[in-house]
Amino acid sequence: MTSGGWIFMLITWGIIISLLVFTYARTITYNEEDCDDDSST
């Protein structure tokens, strides 16, 4: 694999994995906070 290939692959993976971690971290936090609110509606 060329250095260009490594760069494209690692940047792409980095963006996607960062987005995945960020969104799930916020979602899981949200779930915990929202439990009481959910049951009251």
Binding site: M1, T2, G4, G5, W6, I7, F8, M9, T12, W13, I15, I16, I17, L19, L20, T23, Y24, R26, T27, I28, Y30, N31, D34, D37, T41
Partner: protein
């Protein structure tokens, strides 16, 4: 509609369900082939541009419209569109596309899904191991029944596995949003990810066959997929391929997200949930999907094999090349089973989402109970899946894929965006998107949703109209012996869309104006 609406059990439940709908066979088969043929690593530039300008905005638009329509007790496109533009009583007929599209895809997708289940079974029982490449081709032809020259294809094992798959699908749908779809996705999606990670690690540690040239290893395979060909960025076809891939991978435009998000409360977040589901799909597609098929085929067959574009067909790679690779490594039966079972899980979490718009339409607009709605859907699906099973070798599958999986969803997506941004109003839509949100969407997306995404979708439609539609309509590339079958399935498709249109008319015939569920007292 007086009965209490179904709801998702948890935020994570709907995220996994929407992600499950998006993660399908295309993530593991279509994406790597498209990337390798369209510039390798450079393909990711138009891919991300299309994701930001078409995929993500459309996804947010659908979540917004779906949750809004759900507030009026509607979970399918006709009712959702009508609740968004109540002044115009014809707008609901545009929503026919949101039932028709997923149903037409269902007509062949369940059959393809059943192949994955069958091949998982044959792998595990050791029946999928042959001495020569021809053996794999002959096995596939035997299973599909396409080796006969007669009018019908199909084989007894093929029909049996199709029936098993259809019954599993209907059972999940029967148990409803929380008890069926959410429960399955909560188990199937994490299982799929774990299995795919294990398989990707195994592929990336494969040894090349004896006598293979230097560089024919898994890193070389990754290089085949990722080495950038920047000259590809100057080709319009590469940008269109990226837009097409992004469009189809996120399950936007087909009415599924509309239906799923309609089971949310207005206070539920959709901005973050939508992005989370999309990022789950991208991880499955780019990171996992890109690390299995192409690297494995590169290690075992070499660059020459993959350079032949005929060998890069996603179907051939998945069903013919992969079993040969697994047959040549220790515990190949297990790895083969894992591969096809991953595809089956990806398939079933998508197909159950394709059934839901029709079932929800019958439940909401005809006041049917879920068991009755599923029974009616099941009978219709069983009958209408038969052309794909019995006339596979007559071009029926391509025809269904073109009309249900391409034309109608691009048109539907363009219409949805125009309805939301221009008729419903972008400011109102923006407020609706942020109601209950846990994440502010950058304001630039307001501009993108209103101007950029609809323009790009209309440009895609015009391009297709001017380059390929006439040839498709006139069946230019259809062999003469297949023309009666293709005409036949077109008649079936016309009959289906007319039937759904009549059902919409019947459902609204004597109906008073809709009111939000809160006013009807049935929203809890």
């Amino acid at each position: 509609m007086a009965q209490a609406r179904e709801r998702w059990g948890s935020r994570l439940g709907i995220i996994l369900a929407v992600a499950g709908s998006a993660v399908g066979l295309g993530n593991f088969l279509r994406f790597p082939s498209e990337a390798a043929q369209n510039g390798g690593g450079a393909f990711m530039i138009p891919y991300f541009v299309a994701l930001v300008l078409i995929g993500i905005p459309l996804m947010w638009a659908e979540w917004t419209a779906g949750r809004f329509g759900g507030g009026f007790g509607h979970s399918s496109a006709p009712g959702i569109f009508q609740s968004m533009y109540r002044k115009n009583r014809f707008i609901k007929y545009f929503g026919v596309a949101g039932i028709y599209g997923p149903f037409v895809i269902y007509m062949f997708y369940v059959y393809l899904e059943s192949w994955c289940l069958a091949f998982a079974y044959y792998s595990l029982t050791g029946n999928l191991s042959f001495a020569s490449p021809e053996g794999y081709v002959q096995f596939l032809q035997w299973y599909q029944g396409v080796d006969s020259a007669g009018a019908f294809s199909g084989s007894l094992p093929g029909v049996i596995f199709f029936m098993i798959t259809l019954v599993i699908n209907l059972a999940v749908t029967y148990f409803g949003i929380r008890g069926g779809i959410e429960r399955l996705c909560n188990i199937a999606l994490p299982a799929l990810f774990i299995m795919a990670v294990i398989l990707a690690i195994r592929v990336l540690t494969l040894d090349a066959p004896a006598g293979a040239p230097a560089g024919q290893d898994s890193i070389g395979g990754l290089g085949f997929l990722w080495n950038p060909d920047l000259s590809a960025l100057g080709k319009p076809s590469v940008w269109l391929a990226a837009a097409g891939q992004v469009f189809f991978t996120l399950s936007v435009g087909m009415g599924v997200i509309l239906t799923y998000s309609s089971y949310l409360r207005r206070s539920d977040d959709i901005a973050l949930s939508g992005l989370t589901a999309a990022s789950t799909n991208e991880f499955a597609e780019v990171v996992l999907g890109g690390s299995i098929v192409i690297p494995a085929a590169f290690v075992f067959f070499g660059q020459e094999f993959l350079m032949n574009s005929n060998n890069l067909g996603s179907f051939d790679l998945g069903f013919l090349a992969m079993p040969q690779i697994f047959a040549g490594i220790p515990f190949g039966a297990f790895w083969g089973f894992l591969w096809f079972f991953i595809l089956f899980l990806a398939g079933i979490t998508s197909s159950i989402s394709l059934a839901q718009p029709t079932v929800a339409f019958l439940e909401d607009e005809f006041n049917l109970t879920r068991p009755k709605a599923v029974r009616i859907f099941g009978i219709a699906a069983f009958v209408l899946c038969q052309p794909a099973v019995w006339f596979l070798h007559r071009g029926v599958l391509d025809e269904l894929n073109f009309w249900g999986g391409t034309v109608i969803i691009v048109m539907g997506a363009a219409f949805e965006l125009i309805l939301l941004a221009w008729v419903f109003g972008i400011d109102r839509a923006w407020d609706e998107l942020h109601c209950g949100c846990r994440m502010r969407v950058p304001n630039i997306f307001k501009f993108i949703i209103k101007y950029v995404s609809p323009t790009l979708l209309i440009a895609m439609l015009i391009w297709w109209f001017t380059t390929s539609w006439w040839d498709v309509i006139t069946m230019k590339d259809v062999p003469s012996e297949n023309i009666p079958y293709v005409l036949g399935i077109r008649l079936v498709l016309v009959g289906l869309i007319v039937t759904i249109g009549i059902m919409v008319w019947l459902a609204w015939r004597k109906r008073p104006d809709d009111a939000p569920l809160e006013q009807k007292g049935a929203g809890a």
